[in-house]
């Protein structure tokens, strides 16, 4: 646990720096007030607009921890929003809570189905996850366009809008949904054996299977969970503007989600994952967008600006880079191994790494996969 905390120090510092820069550019940045019975302010905006990304990144974390990846989440976002809006528009009474509940339920159920489909391709048929989910990434967006007939569907339904605009005790529902998902995930993965199973399968699926863990079932469930998260994000995004945009909703959000997961310290090679890290990663990615708008970075240079910040985060997370930079300032300490020969810095590698092979050597079976 302590090791995990230490890994998160650097992204946390970057987040603090970003927030500080915002506060300099716009003095009222940290001000949070209550408007219309709901918290209001830039920090609330970051959490509110970041909620869909966070939800998707959480689903992605589990999938990545199991050595998978899900490129289709953006398409699922579009499908989910499209299905919900079309059902509401077609219903006789768009403003009845029953209609909205039915529409949201159908959209979420379909999202889980799409997730199961991904899981079936990737975990059961063993198609490379990047290829398996690429199919739905392309086909799903086509499906969303088909559902909305290529148009932007606008809904005027008060209960549907409340999903995004409503609040409980002044906290926006969107933020609450994200918080509850984090809590449920933390309980399920860190307070039961499920998290150990995930790390074991992600570290070495074959060894985990021999130890009696149902690796395939776990992977399928992870993809289904990721689909559910993407579906929920799709509902939020569509409820935000009261419309479904099959062409643009959730476009490229899969890349932001993967970025958030990686910034948070989850290994793309599977095994080690961090829920707190993913939350931090998603907040950083969203804060980056807000920073661009608040500081008035010209749109032409916005992408470069974002890239530089992400680059800095990645550099700071590299123990070797930190050692190199720190070396001249370290008095009397042992020389820092600069080449490829030295052992990796221990604090980075302990902790959650599953010890499936016991002695730390890579399992030959792992190489074959």
């Amino acid at each position: 646990m302590a090791a995990q905390m230490r890994r998160l120090v650097w992204p946390l510092l970057v987040l603090v720096a970003l927030l500080a820069a915002n506060a300099v550019a716009s003095p009222g940045f940290f001000a949070v007030t209550v408007k219309g019975g709901r918290l209001y302010g830039s920090l609330v905006d970051i959490l509110h607009f970041g909620a869909p990304l966070l939800l998707i990144a959480l689903g992605m974390t589990v999938v990545i921890a199991l050595r998978g990846i899900d490129l289709s989440v953006g398409a699922v976002v579009a499908v989910s929003g499209a299905v919900a809006c079309e059902i509401i528009v077609a219903a006789g009474d768009p403003s009845s809570p029953g209609t909205v509940a039915g529409a949201v339920g159908t959209a979420l159920a379909l999202s889980v189905l799409l997730g199961l489909w991904n899981g079936f391709l990737a975990a059961v048929l063993r198609i490379q996850p990047i290829v398996a989910t690429l199919i739905l990434m392309v086909a799903g967006r086509g499906l969303a366009q088909l559902i909305t007939d290529g148009q932007i569907t606008t809904v005027t339904s008060e209960p549907y809008r409340r999903i995004a605009a409503g609040s409980l005790a002044a906290v926006p529902y969107t933020v609450l949904m994200a918080a509850v998902t984090v809590l449920v995930m933390w309980l399920a993965l860190r307070r039961t054996a499920l998290g150990l199973f995930v790390e074991a399968v992600g570290g070495n699926a074959e060894a985990a299977r021999l130890a009696g863990i149902r690796a395939t079932g776990l992977s399928v469930a992870a993809y289904a969970f990721c689909g559910l998260c993407a579906g929920l994000a799709g509902i939020i995004i569509s409820a935000n503007t009261g419309s479904a945009d099959g062409n643009n909703a959730g476009l490229w959000i899969e890349l932001d989600a993967i970025l958030a997961v990686v910034i948070g310290g989850t290994l793309l090679t599977g095994g080690r994952f961090s829920i707190a890290g993913t939350v931090l990663g998603a907040v950083i990615v969203q804060t980056l967008s807000t920073t661009v708008y608040t500081m008035g970075v010209p749109p032409e240079s916005a992408l470069v600006f974002k890239a530089v910040v992400v680059f800095v985060v990645c550099l700071l997370q590299s123990p070797r880079f930190r050692a190199q930079v720190a070396a001249p300032f370290r008095r009397g300490g042992p020389p820092v191994p600069a080449g490829g020969a030295g052992p990796p810095a221990p604090e980075e590698e302990d902790g959650a790494m599953p010890t499936a092979t016991g002695d730390g050597r890579p399992d030959p079976r792992e190489v074959r996969r």
């Binding site: 009222g28 408007k35 209001y40 905006d45 290529g150």
Partner: protein, 324 residues
């Protein structure tokens, strides 16, 4: 398999050619008065485009012009193929909305050599050759920006105080975003009291407009005007303005470009002040041009689409007429 396919394709092409001869009277040879127009559309990527297609189909029927319609599905190859097949079928006039700007020299020269006049719609092409197309019918994005600017200048004509404007740009680098920004800046630049305090990319989407506007509201507390490069971004921004406890259309004046139905609804509700139309309904104008070109009349090299500017007082009345 391949052979079967190509045989089928050839058969289809033959049938098409036969139909063309049968009904159209065959291009320049025809004393028959039905004009045959081959039109290649970009695709069906947006509601705007769909309305564009519908308008052309309806206007052709109205004008008694036989329309051969082909959808390029955003691929230049498809479009070049469609134009070649129009040439083979010897249609009277070819019109198309180019998917991209460059790479048209060869096929346009083929059309010229076959003596078939070409009309471009919606977007222009880059070419070194002369006389490969008769005319270009399309929107003037810069003028749309100017129209938006003129509204702002007029609205605040009596004000002595500074006017703070925020701008939601379209997708960075796209032609409408560049031109609408330029036209707007040109008009408001004539008076020092107008200042664009923030201008960011809202990606032409509602979600983008909403998020960027929310950030603008957080960092600027004295916004007078919002200028959005399209209606969707303005609609998204309205959500943010309302969430901030402000009244869109009152506390912050809103002007946007396109003229979609939802924007007219918002204008009728008093939430948008001015909509500058970017008109996809070019069918009737196109058919006039086609008839003129076919008759060998001189046409201007560039024809602008008739576009309106609508205020709140016209919104209610105009709403039922909006087709997109």
């Amino acid at each position: 398999m391949n052979k079967a396919l190509s045989t089928t394709a050839a058969a289809v092409a033959l049938t098409a050619a036969a139909t063309a001869c049968g009904s159209g009277g065959g291009g320049q040879g025809g004393g028959d008065d039905t004009i045959v127009l081959g039109f290649s559309q970009v695709g069906a990527e947006s509601g705007w485009r769909t309305a564009n297609t519908e308008s052309i189909k309806a206007a052709a029927e109205e004008a008694g012009i036989e329309l051969k319609f082909s959808d390029a599905q955003q691929q230049q190859e498809n479009q070049i193929q469609a134009i070649r097949s129009f040439i083979q079928q010897d249609v009277d006039v070819i019109a198309f909305s180019p998917v991209v700007e460059s790479g048209w020299d060869t096929v346009l020269a083929e059309a010229r050599n076959a003596g078939i006049p070409v009309v471009l719609t919606d977007r222009a092409v880059e070419t070194d050759q002369e006389d490969v197309y008769e005319t270009f019918l399309g929107s003037d994005f810069v003028e749309e920006g100017r129209n938006a600017g003129r509204y702002v200048v007029e609205e605040f004509a009596d004000s002595d105080e500074d006017v703070n404007i925020v701008e939601l740009q379209g997708t960075t680098g796209s032609a409408p975003a560049i031109d609408r920004k330029e036209g707007f800046a040109e008009v408001i630049g004539e008076d020092d009291k107008f200042e664009i305090v923030a201008s960011q990319d809202g990606d032409f989407t509602r979600a983008g407009g909403q998020e960027v506007m929310q950030a603008f509201l957080g960092s600027h507390d004295d916004i007078d005007v919002l200028y959005a490069h399209n209606d969707d971004m303005a609609l998204g921004a309205i959500e943010s303005i309302e969430a901030a406890g402000l009244e869109p259309g009152e506390d912050i004046k809103i002007v946007s470009v396109d003229g979609i139905k939802d924007a007219f609804q918002a204008m009728a509700d008093g939430k948008i002040n001015q909509v500058v139309e970017c008109n996809p309904l070019i069918g009737p104008q196109l058919m006039d041009l086609v008839e003129q070109v076919h008759a060998g009349e001189e046409v201007p090299e560039r024809v602008e689409v008739e576009e309106g500017v609508f205020g709140q007082d016209q919104a209610e009345e105009e709403l039922p007429n909006r087709e997109y």
